[in-house]
Symmetry: C2
Amino acid sequence: NVAHGLAWSFYIGYLKKVLPRLENLIEAYHAEKDNSILRYKDTWKVHILIPLDCHIPDEISKEDANIHFFDNLPDTQLNVAGVMKRSYKHSVYEIFDESKRPHFCIVEYATPLVSLYEMSRDSQAAFSSQDRLEQTKLFYRTLKDILEDSKECRNLYRLVLLNDNKRGEDPHYLSKEIIK
Amino acid sequence: NVAHGLAWSFYIGYLKKVLPRLENLIEAYHAEKDNSILRYKDTWKVHILIPLDCHIPDEISKEDANIHFFDNLPDTQLNVAGVMKRSYKHSVYEIFDESKRPHFCIVEYATPLVSLYEMSRDSQAAFSSQDRLEQTKLFYRTLKDILEDSKECRNLYRLVLLNDNKRGEDPHYLSKEIIK
Ligand SMILES: Nc1nc(=O)c2ncn([C@@H]3O[C@@H]4COP(=O)(O)O[C@H]5[C@@H](O)[C@H](n6cnc7c(N)ncnc76)O[C@@H]5COP(=O)(O)O[C@@H]3[C@@H]4O)c2[nH]1
């Protein structure tokens, strides 16, 4: 099953490597910039967006006027499978709530869903739109189970399932979902 | 099928993005370092190592004394799925042949195989060693077909299938395979 493999690869090749480093990265960021924008420990996690329609823009700020890119956390550089000093980084966003108060959050989309989307558009992949929706749900369930069982990643992530219909109705659906 | 999804994700999320930029990166590298180590256009490709046993070290130079890390090509930075200025890079290796002549090659392992390997070791993934070998071969065949059909990636890659038995017999098996 495609989604089963993509969820495992997302965990093994990425989340298991980067999430355990998150607290150190945030502390290094605060020290380097002499600020404390990620003030509360309940924001010390990566919000991983999982849109059911696999609609994944490259820039989150284009999706909702209340979301602005703020800064990147420091890079992590690791030697991986022959690539020396491969770089991993997270982006911090400033997100305004309905009272215009700013919240700082580490957010990104679940990258493997981009591949699911593109596969459903390339006839060579033999992968339909129905397959894609079913596989996206399987991706979410599998990833949720893997992460719940992962000691290394506990409390360092939040999976945010996004419903495409609501996105159409409310221009601030995404910002509200992230800062819930 | 796990390998089908990983091959597509490797193409969509990586090779399709980075290979078309390779020639520009090499020219920029030569200009920046005032050298021309990748002198012949037939070396202007990424050698992608596909070990049938999914044995993937993080540092290629540890596998064969004739292979030395030389330098990284310049970074490519792209906004991807909410990560701003995500960095992609390739490593150049200096590889000595049996006459001790140096050859410069861009080499890396097919990283998705690391996930296949780890999945076969984690009981939660329900993925055996037989599954892994079968899926590795499927990964190779699927990737080969995708790349042969890809206009964007033509002549910019070389898939190097590695046989684990030969690795045991000849300490310079890897360097010989790469510079063939
Ligand atoms: N948000 C995010 N930031 C990252 O730095 C990152 N790195 C990986 N991933 C996602 O985790 C999973 C496991 O990664 P792996 O490296 O095994 O496979 C990767 C890897 O084989 C290759 N690839 C991607 N980026 C690079 C890179 N910079 N250098 C070498 N190979 C790369 O192409 C595959 C698919 O990449 P993505 O489609 O971006 O999603 C990956 C994947 O779903 C990331 N996701």
